[in-house]
Amino acid sequence: MENVLQTNGLTKKYGRFTALKNVTMTVPKGAIYGLVGKNGAGKTTIIRIVCGLHNASDGELSLYGISNRDKKITQMRKKISAVVETPAIYPNLSAKNNLLLQYKLTGKNPDKIDELLNLVGIPDTGKKKAKDFSLGMRQRLGIAFSLVNEPDFLVLDEPINGLDPQGIVEVRELLLKLNREKNMTILISSHILDELSKLATHYGFVDKGTIVKEMSSEELENAVKKSMLITVNNTMLLAPVLMEKNLDYKIVSETEAEIYSHINVTTLVHDLAEKGCEVITMTEKSESLESYYMSLVGGADNA
């Protein structure tokens, strides 16, 4: 599979402070790559280096196979677009005039301005200046900015910050649409993990300036701890059966227990019925992305 972005031992130091330490990550073509990490973990620094805004102190990155040490990297950057932290806009201009300048910068024909504003959900802002926009509207205008050059690789840093619930859904659907219909590769950072889990096909978990784990959504699916929540009339009757079967379990209450081992439901229900234990409900539970992240970076201290 072709890789859009590959970093190798990327390090960034600000004076004595090391913000990034040997970051090695790979973003495959067509992926929605979620950078997961708490505030200050180094997500934005990675994004800034990828976009060329910051110079790496050490290490290397390549975009479409071209190293950042190669002068051709600037040509590769024409294929990418980014919204880093707060959206960058011209505050004294209207949304249309903002986009018009961006079209001039890219040298493209500005015939799709209305279509673009419609796409990001701010079609009727008229002559209202961007400085009078709400944070959510600015965020949408920032996304529109990034779509002007019809990028192949879209980099978004916390794109749903400031958006209302409807806006979050709309941005999510927009990103999924761009990914599916235009095969756009997306690198997206967020600390709202549940939202990210609805989008991402690949994950990079960042903590203290390093990528602690990189995996696909399928790998994550397999890695997260699954359990079966069983509700019975009496867990005193349930426990001996589970112990006899040598299963890993935890009694939650007088009527509920969690079973972590793989089980054959039919056999278990049959055995419990024989001991007079009545099964009321059984529900499969998955550990959330949040819990998995916490287990990776070392628990609640890092929340």
């Binding site: 976009c51 060329g52 805004l53 600037t74 024409k78 960058a88 201009l93 005039n97 001039k104 040298g107």
Partner: protein
């Protein structure tokens, strides 16, 4: 690079500041002319009419060019240029070209205005003088040097305060020169420092241009263009170096 310039000029002409400063500038020019009219017979040269507001141009272009360049940093819109595949050298040079354009635009507008008013006041006789093209070239060089310094400082500080510091630097430099002069017993050193300050800093070069006293006499006619060219080149290379090494927010 052409796209960068196209975006830059579009942004410049959409900026209200360009026109507001031009209006303020015209008001200054008008007041200056009203004042000159009463003392016209005492002027060293009729060309005084054409260059008497050179110091005001410096201030106007400082505000317009400083704001133009710094807004790209403060609005973070410079990100789009970097992520859009332009090199930092291209970005710096496009800012330089637009800044110089701002300076030359103000100079051009002034000359048109001053010529029109000057003809009305002095008549066509010896106005402008034969030395006018030389004065004009020097004015342009002083402005280019001035704008190069502003661009360097704004790129260094990534804020409009960079432009303000440039002006403060001009103002503070004579004090530094005075301190050197006070503590220097050597007359040659004193003379050298005085000449350096006069010919080196745009504000003082502008003062010389305005007064029309020493140009094109030696050594100003030699030193000023040399200093202007040298400072312009050094500040461009310095600015590109700073730009390349900077981390952009």
């Amino acid at each position: 690079m052409l796209n960068l310039l196209s975006e830059g000029f579009a942004r410049l002409f959409k900026s209200k500041l360009l026109y507001v400063m031009l209006l303020i500038y015209f008001i200054f020019c008008f007041l200056e002319f009203a004042g000159i009219r009463t003392i016209i017979e005492y002027l060293p040269s009729s060309d005084y009419l054409l260059f008497s507001f050179h110091e005001i141009i410096l201030l106007c272009v400082l505000i317009v060019a400083g704001k133009f360049v710094s807004s790209d940093f403060t609005n973070n819109t410079i990100r789009y240029k970097i992520t859009g595949g332009y090199t930092r050298t291209q970005i710096y040079m496009s800012n330089w070209i637009i800044s110089v354009f701002i300076g030359l635009f103000y100079l051009f507008v002034t000359q048109i205005f001053a010529m029109t008013v000057g003809f009305a006041m002095v008549g066509k006789g010896d106005f402008p003088s034969d030395e006018y093209p030389y004065y004009l070239m020097l004015s342009a060089l002083v402005l280019i040097e001035h704008l190069s310094c502003i661009l360097f400082m704004v790129t260094l500080m990534k804020k409009f305060s960079g432009a303000v510091f440039t002006y403060l630097f001009y103002i503070m430099s004579p004090f530094v020169a005075s301190i050197i002069i006070i503590f220097s017993s050597n007359e040659q050193t004193v003379d050298l420092v005085e000449k350096f300050v006069e010919d080196f800093f745009p504000l003082f070069q502008s003062d010389i241009l305005t007064s029309q006293a020493d140009i094109p006499k030696y050594p100003h006619n030699i030193l000023m263009p040399i200093y202007d060219a040298a400072v312009t080149i050094i500040s461009i290379f310095g600015g590109i170096f700073v730009m390349k090494r900077s981390d952009i927010k």
